[in-house]
Symmetry: C2
Subunit: 408 residues, 2 copies
């Protein structure tokens, strides 16, 4: 079963219990793979899907994903209204979120009952007497819980931890015992809680689950992680066009990492995508975008998107050679750039160009003359007029702040 | 109702909510007084009884003591066997301990149903869903719990706190809400937990209980508190003779404090007991011992014990003047002292004295010649032979280690 593990390793940070994993895969018994989620409204993105694809690989070998809704904690009231804590959801909201979760998950996982099972942790907690819960608490120390980064950081920052938040890892850990988890595949931020799962399984006489953690991949803006609040993620439910377009917008230096974790392109292909710049970087992104769209929507859709993208952007032949526009303003607006590009045109001429949709920056249509622009940028103003706008080098001085060419 | 409060103040350290207490006493409504105990085998001593007598005063005015057995936590398993945690008890043990508790409590409290009610906190916790318990946890922060001295001390000492221990104060606090406590009278070590009771009552929309804390009185050996493990306490179930004898053995400087908290002697009498020494100190102790025994067993029994004590010890007229026996040995035994007291007697004469019960040290009969003795001590060997045995002052030297008088 080393081939299986090797394949998983492509997107693995750490395996806790690697020997157990090998042994259990060898045993031929279908493994129970814990996939635990809370019940807030889901918006799965490519980062989440890394773990889902690994589970899918195992499903294809006959192992079973147990999709565990942590519905207990969503029913915990928090009358203090602390921002840290999760919202209280009604049963109807929980059901709706669960349905949405399953719909998104089914974009990757197989959901036939032979390899997929849905559970809720209220199944065991609703039936659990308070005394038994306290018995679980007796098996964990305060120091163990406080070892968790998140708690340490909060204490260090002088922020509060409500006691229910403090004990959530205990509940999440016990879940592994209750559902007889063999394996769980989680982001590295969940390692602590899942280690507690191993702790409870061992304490309660069950074999401890294997924990595989996966790396966290940066957002499309290069920031540390994809997140809904930063709007820098590629959602599983994004249209093929949106997926394609967002992937084309990532920083060049992320192409290799994205291709490694978000596609199944062969390692040598992935390696070849690294360190490209200029037109080669665009080609590398096209390759990445097509591979990702293929994975989710099939090769036909990917080909269509590739063609559409080329038609829209590439085939309107952005010239290899275009006039430079040096800009001395620290924060030029779209209108500033247009004035520089067309020094003889009137403001109303320039505004008309904008209204007509004839102005793009790096291929993105502009409508607002007041939008501030980061340099360098490719400005297109009219069907055949291109400029490469760059900031004035620090040594330059004295000249007019903007120099350009006549309106065509 | 200031008279009531003044009377309670005799044995009060602190009142949290004194205005509420005054108002509630004035309202004429019978108050519900929380008396919470855990279910371990009880051995109530005079220290516990201070609080009970205050409750008794309130019962005499028609208020109701709610005796709350914290039976929930005794059913929490602790598979780790940490010494800090309480033993797990069977239901039969809990019932037996509860019965014993009630028997001891009834030595002070009235137990007729109009002013006494027995509850168990399992009544509400057995019916509480885990989600609701977590909802309680949501109303307390980690920092609040860690403010408790006991927890801080443990962390500082590098000792562990199991998570169930950490949350016990939450449970004890919620008890106050569930049982509708108006008032609780506790040792100052319970202030933290009972403050949490106020917290929960306020959070849940109920009037917060008043908390009265009482001072902790030293053990009969002068150590910080009475405890079973130090065997330095006077149990409520001790016989009148044992109570009397133990009180006669306390250090002189404790007489006033004991009289203040353990008796109802008028304040001026108590003040007069202070700072006595020599025979006056013994008289002060006799007064204390008689007052305590009167409180628990009535004036007749107290008089009988006083007489018996005088017959046994005082009337055998320990002379005000008696020969000194200076002892140079660092660790003299009883036999050493007897040899010094009777230099001309044979060892077998001395052993016979011991066998006859004729030898006492500070009024306590001695049988074992090898018992080591702390100096100074009053040695009685025979019906009329007294010595005051003292250590040789450090400057003395060269002389025979023991000097005494002939056997009479």
């Amino acid at each position: 079963m080393n081939a299986v593990i090797d394949r998983l390793r492509r997107t693995t940070d750490l395996i806790v219990g690697a020997d157990d994993l090998r042994e259990r895969l060898d045993s031929g018994r279908p493994l129970r793979i814990k996939y635990g989620v809370d019940c807030t409204a889901p918006d799965l993105h490519l980062g989440h899907a890394v773990n889902l694809w690994m589970m899918r690989q195992l499903q294809d070998l006959g192992h079973r994903v147990v999709f565990l809704l942590g519905d207990l904690t969503t029913r915990v009231g928090d009358p203090t209204g602390r921002s840290e804590t999760r919202p209280v959801l009604t049963p109807a909201q929980i059901d709706a979120n669960a349905a949405s979760f399953l719909e998104q998950v089914s974009l990757v996982l197989r959901t036939d009952p032979s390899v997929f099972e849905v559970r809720r942790n209220s199944e065991w907690y609703d039936a659990m007497p308070v005394a038994e819960l306290l018995g679980l608490f007796a098996q964990v120390t305060h120091a163990q819980l406080m070892a968790r980064d998140m708690f340490r950081d909060r204490v260090a920052a002088g922020r509060e931890i409500a006691v229910h938040e403090l004990v959530y890892p205990v509940l999440q850990g016990y879940d592994s015992f209750a559902m007889e988890s063999d394996l769980t595949i989680v982001g590295s931020d969940q390692l602590f809680n899942e280690q507690l799962g191993r702790h409870f399984q061992q304490r309660l006489g069950a074999p401890p689950q294997v924990v595989i953690t996966t790396p966290i991949t940066p957002g499309i803006d290069g920031r540390a992680k994809q997140s809904k609040s930063l709007n820098n993620y590629i959602g599983l439910t994004d249209s093929p066009r949106d997926k394609f377009g967002k992937l084309m917008s990532i920083p060049d230096e992320l192409v290799e990492a994205y291709a490694r974790v978000y596609t199944e392109l062969p390692p040598e292909t992935v390696a070849a995508l690294a360190d490209a710049s200029g037109p080669a970087a665009r080609d590398a992104k096209l390759r990445l975008a097509a591979a990702v769209v293929t994975r989710y929507h099939g090769a036909g859709v990917a080909k269509a998107e590739l063609d559409a993208f080329r038609r829209t952007f590439t085939d309107r032949t952005e010239p290899a050679d275009m006039p430079e526009l040096t800009v001395a303003l620290a924060h030029p607006t779209v209108l500033d750039l247009l004035r520089a590009a067309h020094p003889n045109a009137s403001n109303s001429d320039l505004r008309r160009l904008l209204r007509q949709g004839a102005v793009t920056l790096n291929g993105i249509r502009q409508h607002n003359p007041a939008t501030e622009v980061d340099l360098p940028v490719i400005l297109k103003s009219g069907p055949r007029t291109w400029h490469r706008a760059t900031p004035t080098p620090p040594t330059a001085g004295g000249a007019s702040p903007l120099r350009g060419s006549p309106l065509t």
